[in-house]
């Protein structure tokens, strides 16, 4: 695979200048996600009001792929109803498995920049770390 499509500008930008990598005050829920293959840990924090994610953030360490993916994820789910966030997480996880249609990847916006990871089995866990964590959080709310 071409290097440029993988570590593209979207990924390097979100990695170097994350928008949501900081703790937030009084999160309603938080959850730790671990990638056992490298020991990376991130903690995702969300504020949820009336079923809508009003704010979110993540903290922790990880590779460019995991950090960029988590940052994009938080950016996308803020302001969305939890059900829609769950839908996006489902789409993302399917995209990484190579199962999403071009229309569905389109729906994922910036996160679509990570679609090529589906060809890189070693990096799949990095890309899904944040999304998987948020999926678990929403599942746990019910």
């Amino acid at each position: 695979m071409d290097f440029k499509t993988f570590y593209n500008e979207v990924v390097t930008d979100h990695n170097m200048h994350p928008l949501h990598k900081h703790p937030i005050d009084n999160p309603d829920i938080e959850m730790e996600g671990v990638n056992p293959s490298c020991g990376d840990e991130i903690t995702v924090q969300l504020k949820v009001q009336d079923g809508i994610i009003s704010d979110g953030s993540f903290i922790g360490d990880g590779c460019a792929i995991s950090q960029a993916s988590a940052d994009i994820m938080i950016d996308m789910v803020i302001g969305k109803p939890v059900e829609e966030a769950r839908h996006l997480a489902d789409l993302f996880l399917r995209m990484i498995k190579g199962e999403a249609s071009p229309e569905e990847i389109e729906e994922l916006g910036e996160a679509g920049a990570l679609s090529d990871i589906s060809h890189m089995p070693a990096r799949v866990k990095c890309a899904v770390l944040g999304w998987h964590t948020v999926d678990e959080m929403i599942k746990g709310m019910k």
Binding site: F3, Y7, N15, S37, C38, D61, G62, C63, I65, C126
Partner: protein, 408 residues
Amino acid sequence: MNKSELIKEYRKQFPLLDEELAYLDNAATTQKPSSVLDAVRRYYEKDNANPFRGVYDLSERATESYENARKKTAAFINAAAPEEIIFVRNASEALNLLAYSWCEDNLAEGDEVVVSVMEHHSDFLPWKYMAEKKGAKLVKFEPDENGTVTDAVLDSCLSEKTKIVALTQVSNVLGRVNDIKHIAEKVHLAGALISVDGAQSVPHMKVDVQDLDCDFLSFSGHKMFGPMGIGVLYGKMEHLEKMRPFMYGGEMIATVHWDRVTYAEVPHKFEAGTVNVGGAVGLAAAIDFINEVGWDIIETQEEILTARAMAGIKNIDKVRIIGSQNEADHKGIVTFCVEDVHPHDVADILGRAEVCVRAGHHCAQPLMDFLGVKSTCRASFAFYNTEEEVDRFLTELSKVRGLLGYGF
């Protein structure tokens, strides 16, 4: 032929190695020469039967193949007798066998097990589990930041309560060689035993268990040009004789009746079930190969490669070598961090240029905590690596920060 021509000839004996690939992950596993692959194939084509069980000639040949491998392995590490060699799957299984079996009868409440902070998880978790199970204390033994084991720290960890010390001969992260002979002497004076993890030492230097006077030594075949799935636990006979079996089943017994069981003699007591004859034959061929190449060539070449890599890394801005800055302290292992860049990204970028290095915690998370890093990258050499490969590695490494959008 001079040394470098000889090395080129030996390199040609590794079918997987070609001009494209710079394989620098030899501490994880080495590639295999044709002689090893051929030996395994020949065994299955000519001599395969279930060893020990049959009385026909073929089964006897299988038994002989297996026991010859044991003799060769014993000679390789200068064990006092072939029976002191127990074949297992790998160093992890050797260490589990030892911890489970030995601790069960030798560890009691209040006793202490000393484990160094730089151990691979497989030389940490079995001891931790057994210490907790027996109510014994796990004493953390910290080297200095270069991985050097000082007498002062060693003395402070040893007491009359110490029963066993677990220590690696070469750290799989820091590459430092521990002076096992000296340490074993001190451990024995304290009345304890010493178990040495030889996974990273046995493939790269002459290890003589009688000279070291270690009580146990564990290593894996696949890190020394042998096949995966064969490893060794060496133990002094006086200890092995007193240890209980680890796994129960076929071929590890003398007699079995409903109400009484007698176990087989050492080493068979510890080798339940049909054994890995093909693997043992492959390991024996790997030992022949190492003996043919000789430690002089192996060690000299690995020193040249290590020195070249370390000097090159020091010339790259914002790349830092972990552990000692002196190349003489690194046994073919160079671990490093690139500022701002996660090791997985480094290894991925190098991987795209067909330069294979390891990234992560190297199954040594307590050491990562001790060093204050989350994870690192590691280049590790075998004698078949070339200076050109090291240069390719350095060229690609120098591009990493730029490719991820950082200025230099």
